[in-house]
């Protein structure tokens, strides 16, 4: 696993995800400054971490989506390479057109840091092969703008093609508006690109990997990516 974690001015969870990847794969990811124009040779996973790139000014992810490194990320994705955007990284992927739709203010208008339950919708993707479809995992969220919206055509396509990988649910895996803390359309927590190699999600599986600081339900997520890359 040769991961490259991008660092934009204002990124702040790059260390968390780098640590989770190292814990699971034994290999330290490289941190890549946004002003670079090429990814390190051999990169097989690009991670856009959480944070407040450019202070979330203008619109979350809007400025970062135009950073010099993003062309290299697009090329990597075009070649079928894995790209993962977490939280602010998901927002950047949406703003850069690598994923459809947009993330707006939480329905209750407040930043929310809490544990949520996610239902894994399918296990046959590069990001979920270590889970079973229907598994419910507990991971934290920490965002103010994670309310996913898209036009009805896009939504129909996402649902039709099975590109919603995680949904916010009750602990028993049933859909329940009370457990959809940010009001996302169809309780969407994370979506895949059409070729399933680009994935963006609002929750932070990287913060639930180490038993010292909480549950470890997020471990399977990184183990899935590792298994995918090792199988390639």
């Amino acid at each position: 696993m040769n991961a490259a974690v991008l660092v934009f001015p204002g990124s702040n969870r790059e260390g968390d995800v780098a640590r989770a990847i190292e814990t699971v794969s034994g290999k330290k990811p490289k941190l890549i400054w946004h002003a670079e124009t090429v990814l390190p040779a051999g990169t097989d996973l690009v991670v856009l971490p959480g944070g407040f790139a450019y202070g979330d000014y203008l619109r979350c992810g809007a400025i970062a989506a135009r950073a010099p490194i993003m062309d290299a990320v697009r090329n990597h994705a075009d070649r079928g390479g894995l790209v993962l955007g977490i939280c602010n990284g998901f927002q950047i992927l949406c703003e850069s057109g690598l994923l459809p739709g947009v993330l707006v203010r939480n329905a209750r208008l407040k930043f929310m840091c809490r544990e949520v339950y996610l239902r894994v919708e399918r296990s046959d993707t590069p990001f979920s092969r270590r889970y079973n479809a229907g598994d419910v995992i507990k991971v934290p969220v920490a965002h103010g703008e994670g309310n996913y919206i898209a036009d009805s055509e896009t939504l129909a396509r996402l649902e039709g093609e099975g590109r919603v990988l995680f949904r916010y649910t009750a602990p028993d895996g049933t859909l329940d508006p009370n457990w959809n803390h940010n009001g996302s359309t169809n309780a969407i927590a994370g979506i895949l690109s059409d070729k399933l190699n680009v994935f963006g999600l609002m929750p932070h599986p990287e913060n639930h990997v180490d038993p010292v600081v909480g549950p470890t339900d997020g471990r399977g997520f990184f183990e899935s990516i590792r298994a995918t890359l090792e199988a390639a």
Partner: protein, 736 residues
């Protein structure tokens, strides 16, 4: 000599917050009338906020030393040694006045300021906490202030990327016109790479770094040194505006140039901005500083020297750099997109000279601006002792469990989840114990070490007996650290009081400081940093005296840390410490009977130490499975909190004979903990307690889904949880 500046009149002097005798003292010091810029500078340096003129004499009495103290008060933050070549750098500071006027920005810049204090010393911040006090929930402004302050703290800390892991929130009508926002930051540095404000060397470049200077926050420190009247909201322009994004860049850039060895001295621009930072750097190094103010990067055209010297624009630093490293430092700052400008140099004249396009706008003796600021021994009144209330004389108007339900659903004792859920408390992936426990526990690096951190004070105790209240604030912080298994190391104090020119307020201050000093001495828990906020008063009514204590402790092995939730069915629940049913100034008396009366519980510091050392030793032995310290609301509230944290109930034994039941369950005697142990370990801990000379009482057994007590209707833990969690979200939902 200087054109285009207003003439100094007595009225202008008064508007700058200087008393006539202070102005005369200043004139005598410089031997002439000051210029307008000089008047601005001295008003910034000699106000209460920056000079500590009313408090210094008393602060000097606090214990500040221990073998593990690297830096005590007087720098940007305190520094303690935590072993393995690492130091913990921490401080707490108030942003009360600005937060009342503009809650979001006031609170946000409070967080920004305290973070800057910590990373200015070369430490990477790892945690934030806060202590908040709002007015009565019934006051029309309270809801809006809670919403704004919480959003502001979250808005800054979340974006900056440091977890906000704990704190306290309280309500009282005495804060109706003056809320308290005390923010604490904790960082980690290498012991041999700590940076200080003291400048060295003559002819070295003085460099301005960070964001540009604007007209915001001019006279912020002067505002913070005055009481509020009816028109306090007109002071909004004195509140600064925060930019956490700029601060995050400033953090990374500052730590990078420190790592590269570019920095000789560094000082953040906080209260009184450029003035205070430049004067402190020069004065501490026995050097002069000359600034060419037109080189300061500004946000707007045509700023005067006066405005630039007094601006409190945020996210700025002043440094003295090694001349040979200037270029390298500049490149690093440019990489992070920050301003970098050489604005002056160090001199051997001990004069503070400000030039604007060559015109000398100020020429002042630098030491005297700081060191010879006025210092007052203000007259103070000894506080009146209140009578001790006999618990048998206090009525009990309802069944015990009904009272419990009322208490845990009351504003002060209800869950503050609504607040801390708006703070990112997980970022950095080191939060071992999350908000809601006795103390937050944060892993250091990859462990096994961890820091325990807490903020505490019981203002109604301090009001009733400032000396005992001051002791209690320290004791409770010490106890909370102990309860998670940590060895308490040091404190930062944030002393919030009313107008010190009133003898009864000064009396509260003096006695609280004495109490803090006595407790810190007895518990070997020195004060290493702090902040004083006076004049928290509106229309002549002061706040409750609120000396917030931020405590830091160390766990050598975080795996041994315990929390408060019940773990397994069938464990023995034990009270460590003695109960006398102390109801004076209790939450019971205030919430259930509406009476804030009597003497608060006294703190026996020797007993406190003996009891805490015993509990810590039992945690270290791995004998106890859950620990909770007893504070507001007493024993039954603590038991309910342990049950709610776990979702597990308990079967409680009846109160002992000889004490009124409500005194036993709700009394607030100090130096007490509840612990749970396996039934089989009971003889072992009983023997250890007897040997340590610590009282131990069996309270009941864990298990089931409800709390039961003889003579009471059992109550489901889920019902308790709903009540406890419900108050604050419901309150915030109601229209203002």
């Amino acid at each position: 000599m200087i054109r285009n500046e207003p003439k100094i009149t007595p009225q202008l002097v008064a508007e700058h917050g200087l008393k006539p005798d202070e102005y005369e003292r200043f004139r005598a010091l410089i031997g002439r009338d000051p210029s307008f810029t000089e008047l601005g500078i001295v008003s910034a340096m000699w106000n209460e906020h920056c000079s500590y003129k009313s408090s210094r004499v008393h602060l000097r009495t606090l214990p500040t030393k221990a073998a593990w103290v690297i830096q005590g008060p007087g720098e940007n933050a305190g520094v303690i040694d935590i072993g393995d070549g690492l130091a913990c750098v921490f401080k707490m500071e108030s942003h009360n006045h600005p937060s009342f006027i503009e809650p979001y920005q006031g609170a946000a810049t409070g967080v920004g300021g305290i973070l800057r204090d910590v990373f200015t010393m070369g430490a990477r911040p790892i945690a934030c906490l806060n202590a908040l006090r709002f007015g009565s929930p019934d006051h029309p402004k309270t809801r809006q202030l809670v919403a704004g302050v919480v959003a502001g703290i979250g808005g800054y800390g979340n974006s900056f990327g440091v977890p906000t892991v704990g704190g306290s929130v309280g309500f009282h009508s005495r804060y109706d016109g003056n809320i308290l926002v005390n923010a604490m930051a904790v960082g980690i540095a290498e012991t041999d790479k700590i940076f200080y404000a003291k400048a060295t060397g003559v002819g070295r470049p003085v460099v301005y770094l960070g964001s540009k200077t604007g007209r915001d926050g001019i006279h912020g420190a002067t505002m913070a040194s005055a009481e509020f009247g009816e028109n306090s909201e007109e002071k909004r322009p004195t509140v600064q505006v925060g930019d956490p994004f700029a601060e995050k860049l400033l953090l990374e850039a500052s730590l990078e140039i420190m790592r590269k060895g570019c920095v000789i001295a560094i000082q953040d621009m906080g209260a009184a901005g450029l003035t205070c930072s430049a004067v402190e750097m020069g004065a501490k190094g026995d050097l002069g500083i000359t600034l060419d103010i037109e080189r300061v990067p500004t946000r707007e055209e045509g700023m005067t020297a006066y405005e630039m010297m007094l601006s409190e624009s945020q996210e700025r630093m002043l440094m003295v750099l090694k001349p040979e490293k200037e270029k390298e430092a500049e490149e690093i700052f440019r990489k992070w997109g920050l301003d970098f400008a050489v604005v002056g140099e160090t001199t051997d004249t001990k004069r503070f000279i400000v030039r604007h396009h060559g015109d000398v706008m100020a020429d002042l003796p630098i030491k005297e601006l700081g060191d010879e600021a006025p210092e007052y021994e203000r007259p103070y009144a000894d506080p009146r002792k209140l009578p001790i209330i006999d618990p048998a004389s206090v009525p009990c108007p309802a069944p015990i469990f009904e009272i419990l339900t009322k208490l845990i659903g009351s504003p002060d004792l209800s869950s503050k989840r609504w607040v801390w859920q708006q703070y990112d408390h997980l970022i950095l992936n080191n939060t071992v114990q999350r908000p809601g426990g006795d103390a937050a526990v944060v892993r250091v690096g990859n462990g096994p070490k961890a820091l325990a951190i807490t903020t505490d004070v019981t203002p109604r105790y301090c009001e009733a007996d400032p000396f005992e209240g001051g002791k209690q604030a320290v004791a409770e912080a010490w106890r909370n650290l102990t309860a998670v298994g940590a060895r308490p190391l040091a404190v930062t104090d944030n002393l919030n009081f009313g107008n010190p020119e009133r003898p009864e307020i000064m009396g509260q201050f003096v006695y609280c400081v004495r109490g803090i000093g006595e407790a810190c001495k007895a518990l070997d828990f020195p004060v290493v940093s702090g902040n004083v906020s006076l004049y928290n008063e509106t229309n002549g009514r002061g706040i409750l005296p609120t000396p917030t204590i931020g405590g830091v402790g160390l766990l050598d092995d975080l795996a041994k840390s315990v929390n408060l939730s019940f773990k397994r069915d069938g464990e023995a629940i034990l009270l460590i410490g003695k109960s006398a049913g102390w109801l004076g100034q209790s939450a019971y008396l205030a919430t259930i009977l509406g009476r804030e009366e009597g003497a608060p519980p006294p703190v026996d510091l020797a007993l406190e130490k003996r009891t805490g050392d015993f509990v810590r030793s039992q945690i270290g032995e791995g004998l106890v499975s859950a620990v909770h310290d007893l504070s507001d609301g007493g024993l039954l509230v603590a038991l309910a909190e342990m049950a709610m944290a776990s979702g597990m109930g308990a079967k409680l034994d009846a109160a002992p004979v000889g004490l009124p039941a409500h005194g036993f369950w709700f009394g607030e005697d100090q130096a007490r903990y509840v612990v749970t142990v396996k039934a089989a370990d009971l003889p072992k801990i009983e023997t250890a307690a007897a040997r340590a000379g610590v009282s131990l009482t069996r309270l009941g057994t864990t298990g089931g889904a409800e709390l039961t007590l003889q003579g009471e209707n059992p109550i489901l833990v889920s019902t308790l949880q709903a009540t406890h969690e419900g108050w604050l979200p419901n309150y915030m939902k109601q229209p203002a």
